[in-house]
Amino acid sequence: MRRYIGRKILIYGLTFFLAVSIDWLIPRFMPGDPIANMLARASVNSTAAQVMHEYYTHVFGLDLPIWQQYLNFWNSLFHGDLGRSVYMFPTPVVDVLSRAVPYDMFLLLPSILLSWYAGNHFGAFAARSKWLDNTVSPIGYILTATPYMWLGIVLAWFFGIVLDQFPIAGAYSFSLRPNLSWPFILDVLHHWFLPFASLFLVGFGGWAIGMRNMIIYELEADYSRYLEALGAPKNLIRKYAFQNGILPQITGLALQLGVIVAGALVTEVVFSYPGIGYLLLAAIQNQDYFLIQGCFLFIIIGVLLANFIIDIAYVIVDPRTRRGMTGESA
């Protein structure tokens, strides 16, 4: 077990290092000069423009040799400093992210967990009935194949424009100040629902389809037939089938996390929901190296951490892995 976890940590560490290095490198390949963009439109005379350009380049540390910038980046990263945002100058990137992350958590956690939970149970349930299977499976296939962004637009159009029941942009109404009161909380939920629904529905379709297939497969397996032959109650067989079927779904969750997070990013853009995705779009448009790095860093850490937790959970849920590991270390 210790060796397993040790090896996992090593792999995750390496992945983290590479991912963060790429994250640092990529924005710097973009054509253009963020400082010039930032100072553009300042109709000042040429002496001032030159002095200001140099001054701001220095403020961002972009006047240093590139290797020095890279080392400084790691150094300040370990001090919890991600630099200053160009787009929202002079706010530190950490502050910008800390304002956006709660919105992401609020959107991602419920949609991932609920869609996984509900999707699996619904899939298992649908596998039992021919009628449900025939109607729900095609819908599930369509849902899971739908791009998040497209579903988001359709929902916004239908519920926001046609029915005019839901707001299509923002996190809360313009007439409200943030505070802990019922009107505000309800308003926040009201704005949250459509982006949540688009993430939830796509995920739900995928998990339901996956589980439905797994259940059908497991019910055909030898152990199910044997149990059936022994006269075990149907519910018991289904329980076993479900427990076996859930394992690939856990692996699937780990594999899908990246896709779901990417989906959340575009969904946020569609609904102007002030999370990381919305921020990332603005950051890229403004060549904000530091904010781009920060957003991706958050995504990298989030996905790696979630994968790690799923890896551990897998060991706990599946007794066979545990047995395999003890055998290996013995």
Binding site: M38, L39, A40, F89, R99, H121, L163, F166, L189, Q285
Partner: protein, 599 residues
């Protein structure tokens, strides 16, 4: 477990549906008040939110609709800095300059007059001395008096820190003296009158008692959170998509200018221009300063109000100029440039690309508000109009002929001509305009294609001088024609041209003329006219860049909550805009003139 999960899910869905049911609440009605006491179901409570227009029950958590002005179209990004010295795109937090920090003077471009603001008067006592008398009783919003010492302190920051944009002024400003609490004396050697007087309404005065002792970095790039100024509004709160300002009840200007009616101003950054349009039509947004393509139609039907009741609907805000890269062939040839000016179909840009929301520019490039500085005789003689035949004729006369029969002309030395006209991707109005430029140039036989790089790439090409031809409009509305000519003929030519003369046109005669104009006192109108006439003569004979049309001061509003907006047809003619840098151009006066609907 499963049951709990499903129950939780259904509760959430149900809650959302309930919310949805009472969400938009189209028309605020007073009946709701009676419902408020009935039950404590969430249903009712959400209704309170939507019923903020009810004066009797202004919930503490929201801004009363009848006391709040909702505006949009000014913010380029989320609020991040309240430092009034932050230049360019950094001045995201619109209102910092204007609401919070004020100027010695304001300038009204429609009447062409400087309006004394913090200053009571300002006079040149001799050619190198300028005396400012401040109003008495000026105060900062924290109650401290605003005195001559604050003015001296603010201007001297430019002397101290080269990174402040107005620092170069100190090349000709020799000293500032606070004679007493209300008198400031500026002394100069060889002053650039035009720039100095422009700065009078562009340098925001900051409080010495709060700024003294700040570190250099705090002054030059600090965020200056919780700003304290002297203006009519104070900082209330901000979020990613909004800035909220609250009226300064103790504003010194109440007695002089009157009290602005809106207690709160919520400056919204909408996710798209269509959202802004929808909100104006519904009356949820009072004024939108976004560019909305179809607004002419809506204005005709009375859904929104605009400054002019018919075309061009909008006031002109700045000049869209086609910069030609004169370091590249064939744009280094004045004859080619001149032919191109005749080839561009400006009427189609105005009527098709903009659907009549803009006006064609005078070939001098000067805005209508500065037309007294246009020498119409020169423009009539040397100017250009859209005329494909004339363009072809000029090309042929200059030796540009189609030698290989592909329908496009080749240079006199036989080299193929393939050019690109650019603007940043996503700027839909400009994208439509460069399409017109490209097609109409092709019709005259010049092979030009439209291209839309990313803003960053576009800006790099612009400043680095690697583009062929591109649009730019960075000269703000101004009290002097020098502002535009300083953009067009910025010199010296450097490796990076950050703020003008992007086409790198090198002409010492013109540079001398513009420098000469800068040194003419603002009171010497005849002298200024003489200088601008010479500039226009040289500019139109050489045609280093082509002024095409005036971008509009996009502005459309609803009168459902606030009335008395400025219009061509009424008496109060000020600028209906919230854009950064326009508050001191009469935007504040617009705000002060507003009246609640129904009064």
């Amino acid at each position: 477990m499963r049951k709990i999960g499903l129950t939780a899910l259904s509760i959430i869905m149900l809650a959302s549906l309930i919310l949805a049911g009472c969400g938009p609440a189209p028309t605020p009605e007073t009946i709701i008040q009676t419902q408020v006491v009935e039950v404590e179901k969430p249903v009712v409570q959400t209704q309170i939110v939507e019923q903020t227009a009810v004066p009797a029950a202004p919930a503490e958590t929201s801004y009363p609709r009848n006391e709040t002005l909702y505006v949009s179209g000014a913010a380029w990004g989320p609020a991040s800095t309240w430092n009034p010295f932050q230049p360019g795109n950094l001045a995201n937090t619109t209102g910092t300059i204007g609401y919070i920090y004020e100027f010695l003077f304001d300038y009204d471009p429609l009447s062409g007059e400087m309006i004394p603001w913090l200053a009571e008067s300002g006079t040149w006592t001799d050619p190198t001395t300028y005396d400012v008398t401040l109003r008495s009783g000026l105060t900062w919003s924290d109650g401290e008096p605003l005195t001559a010492a604050d003015v001296k302190y603010t201007y001297e920051l430019g002397q101290q820190y080269a990174a402040l944009w107005f620092s170069p002024m100190w090349e000709y400003l020799t000293g500032i003296e606070a004679v007493d609490d209300t008198h400031v004396k500026f002394t100069f050697s060889d002053p650039l009158y035009q720039e100095f007087e422009n700065n009078l309404y562009n340098i925001p005065i900051v409080p010495q008692h709060l700024w003294d002792g700040r570190a250099e970095e705090d002054i030059t790039v600090g965020a200056n959170e919780k700003p304290v100024g002297s203006g009519a509004y104070m900082y209330e709160t901000n979020a990613e998509d909004r800035n909220v300002w609250v009226r300064n009840e103790n504003w010194w200007g109440t007695e002089v200018f009157g009290k602005p009616a809106p207690k709160y101003i919520v400056d919204i950054r909408t996710s798209s221009n269509n959202v802004a349009l929808g909100m104006v039509i519904q009356g949820n947004l009072d004024m939108s300063n976004n560019f909305l393509p179809g607004v002419a139609e809506l204005a005709n039907k009375g859904y929104v109000q605009t400054y002019y009741p018919q075309a061009p609907y909008m006031l002109s805000a700045n000049t869209a100029v086609l910069f030609l890269n004169t370091t590249k062939k064939p744009m280094d040839d004045a004859k080619f440039r001149k032919a191109l000016a005749f080839a561009i179909d400006v009427p189609s840009i105005v009527n098709v690309a903009y659907a009549q929301l803009v006006k064609a520019a005078n070939p001098s490039g000067l805005l209508p508000s500065l037309d007294k500085f246009v020498d119409q005789a020169v423009v009539d003689e040397l100017g250009y109009t859209f005329d494909t035949a004339k363009a072809k004729q000029l090309l042929a006369a200059a030796g540009y002929k189609d030698t290989d029969g592909d329908g496009f002309v080749e240079a006199p030395d036989g080299a193929k001509i393939e050019l690109e006209v650019t603007c940043p991707n996503g700027w839909t109005d400009w994208m439509a305009a460069i399409d017109v430029i490209a097609t109409s140039a092709q019709a005259a036989g010049i092979n030009i294609k439209a291209a839309t790089p990313d803003y960053g790439a576009w800006n790099t090409e612009l400043q680095g001088g690697t583009f062929d031809m591109t649009l730019n409009n960075w000269a703000a509305m101004s009290n002097t024609p020098w502002t535009l000519y300083n953009l067009l003929f910025r010199h010296p030519i450097q490796e990076q041209m950050q703020s003008g003369n992007f086409g790198r046109w090198e002409n010492q005669e013109m540079f001398d003329l513009v420098d000469g104009l800068a040194k003419i006192p603002m009171s010497d109108e005849a002298g200024m006219k003489e200088a601008t006439s010479k500039i226009q003569q040289l500019m139109l004979s050489e045609m280093p860049m082509i002024p095409l049309w005036y971008n509009g001061m996009w502005s459309q509003w609803s009168e459902s909550t606030w009335t008395n907006w400025p219009k061509e047809t009424t008496e109060n003619q000020t600028l209906p805009t919230t854009w950064s840098g326009y508050w001191q151009l009469g935007g504040l006066q617009t705000l002060i003139n507003l009246k609640p609907a129904g009064e």
